[in-house]
């Protein structure tokens, strides 16, 4: 039986895949412990989990969603969230790792504090990558900026010979919750031993009530969602979608939006603040979303074509991947008008190739081993001895 230490940031899209993988490991009798912000996400862990709380030392605020978009949100995420948290987590995480003595650490790619601790202690460790945007090179300047951010952090904590360009990616295994054909070959990847396992799938989500008899048998059905982070951002996008759908009475749409918008909704739009997303995806003909990595993979797994209206973080990159794969249409989140939205919805429902490409990708996604495959990869690492058999470290690329 292996001892496995998970550490992930307190963000739903990062926690859910980890929960699914940990379920498989626990079911096989392995000893799983969590180093997490217990006050923020402790209630989402299974009962009787072994938890080392990180919030005692850390007052990491919940990631709020300031009204930034595009590259600005990437800068904010690094400079104001991930890196300061990594710095504060180094000492507590090292103490936890020394106390629990894991055979292997499982570290989310946006929890680099855990990656540095594993490196310092010579522990085998795997990176969990929850978005394909994180494995791609950007421009030389942007890559150098990221490396520079990590360099300062590493120099304050690690011996110089342990410093690398991208400490967030494990030299043992980087487990990517996607399929290789989504990032494709258009953009160069950062060097790392990637294993593509496909989506972890949504084990462990709580049940949500839904009025299923609202659907008419003869309608075309859509799910419209901007995800949990951007749902409450502003209402313009939702109002535009409602105006467009008012002109398309043959379509019925469930829109994940603040309840207050229900009063303005035309009869063919149902506004709900929470929905059972996976069950809904089994019923609809298409999806309008923000290109969040999880939502895109869940929709494609069911062969559903998408309209993608990316807003922030990795969303523009994920949106481009699924458009280039032929399974999605682009929508400009902050600019789209009712007329353009109506034309896009009509194109979504009347362009057979979109569905064909979505079903092609869906077939690949469903064949991928998912959380069970990720669990197997982790167990392989657990049998490696500490320190001695570390794989060759990637050479330190020169950082500007």
């Amino acid at each position: 039986m292996a001892r496995i230490l998970f550490t992930v940031p307190p963000l739903t899209g990062h926690l859910n895949p980890a929960l699914a993988v940990a379920d498989h490991l626990s079911a096989q009798g392995h000893r799983v412990a969590w180093a997490v912000h217990a006050k923020q996400i402790g209630d989402k862990l299974p009962p009787r989990s072994w938890v080392y709380p990180l919030d005692a030392e850390d007052q990491t605020p919940a990631l709020d969603a300031p009204a930034v978009r595009g590259l600005e949100s990437v800068r904010l995420f690094f400079e104001d969230y991930t890196l300061p948290m990594a710095e504060r987590m180094l000492q507590p995480l090292e103490a936890i790792a020394r106390s629990f003595r894991p055979d292997v650490m499982v570290v989310d790619h946006q929890m680099p504090g855990g990656a540095l601790v594993a490196r310092k202690l010579g522990l085998p460790w795997a990176t969990m990558v929850t978005t394909t945007a994180s494995i791609l090179r950007m421009s030389p300047m942007l890559d150098a900026w990221v490396a520079q951010q990590y360099l300062a952090l590493q120099r304050r904590y690690l011996e110089p010979e342990l410093v690398v360009e991208r400490p967030d990616l494990s030299p043992y295994k980087a487990i990517v919750f996607s399929i290789e054909s989504l990032p494709g070959a258009a953009q160069a990847r950062l060097p790392a031993p990637y294993v593509f396992v496909g989506p972890a799938q949504g084990e462990g989500r709580r049940p949500v009530d839904f009025p299923w008899d609202w659907f008419r048998p003869d309608s075309k059905k859509l799910l419209i969602s901007l995800g949990t982070v951007s749902r409450d951002r502003d209402t313009r996008f939702f109002e535009v979608m409602m105006a467009a759908l008012a002109e398309l009475p043959e379509v019925q749409a469930v829109m994940v939006a603040p309840d207050a918008l229900a009063a303005q909704a035309p009869p063919n739009v149902l506004v709900r603040s929470y929905v059972p997303q996976l069950e809904l995806l089994d019923r609809v003909d298409g999806v309008v979303c923000h290109a969040g990595h999880n939502t895109v993979c869940e929709a494609l797994s069911r062969g559903l074509p998408l309209i993608v209206a990316p807003i922030r973080d990795d969303q523009p990159v994920v949106a481009r991947q699924v458009i280039d794969a032929g399974a999605a249409l682009f929508m400009r989140h902050g600019k789209v008008s009712p007329a353009v939205a109506k034309a896009s919805i009509e194109a979504l429902l009347n362009t057979p190739t979109l569905g064909e490409q979505a079903r092609r990708l869906g077939g690949e996604l469903r064949l991928a081993p998912g959380a069970a495959g990720a669990a197997l990869e982790i167990i392989e690492l657990a049998s490696l001895p500490v320190r001695d058999s570390r794989p060759q470290r990637p050479t330190l690329a020169k950082v500007a």
């Binding site: 978009r69 595009g70 590259l71 600005e72 990437v74 800068r75 421009s139 030389p140 300047m141 942007l142 900026w145 523009p316 481009r320 682009f330 400009r332 989140h333 902050g334 600019k335 789209v336 008008s337 007329a339 353009v340």
Partner: protein, 97 residues
């Protein structure tokens, strides 16, 4: 072929409108202060198309993409139409002997 900043701005504005090709952009006021990221929500693939069109127009490799890839994240976030006009204007000047 005019290479004044005013002419470059007019060309750039026209290329932005035709590349975005959505209803809102036709009346959207585009000036030197207009930012590609915040004000236009331009996709990077659209920026590349616009750059290619400008370079084709002047029959010249202006090196716009190389110039862009040398920008820091802070510069990219705030990149404006005026920044690009300035760069193109500079790149079109005959080299001093």
């Amino acid at each position: 072929m005019s290479t004044t900043p005013e002419a470059i701005l007019a060309l750039l504005t026209e290329r932005i409108r035709s590349t975005v090709n959505e209803d809102w952009i036709q009346d959207f006021e585009i000036g030197l202060e207009t930012r590609f990221n915040d004000d236009l929500e331009l996709e990077s693939i659209e920026f590349v198309k616009i750059a290619d069109a400008i370079q084709a127009h002047y029959g010249n490799q202006l090196g716009i993409i190389a110039w862009l890839s040398g920008k820091s994240i802070h510069e990219l976030i705030g990149l404006s139409v005026g920044d690009l006009v300035d760069y193109i204007h500079g790149a079109l000047q005959p080299q001093a002997a």
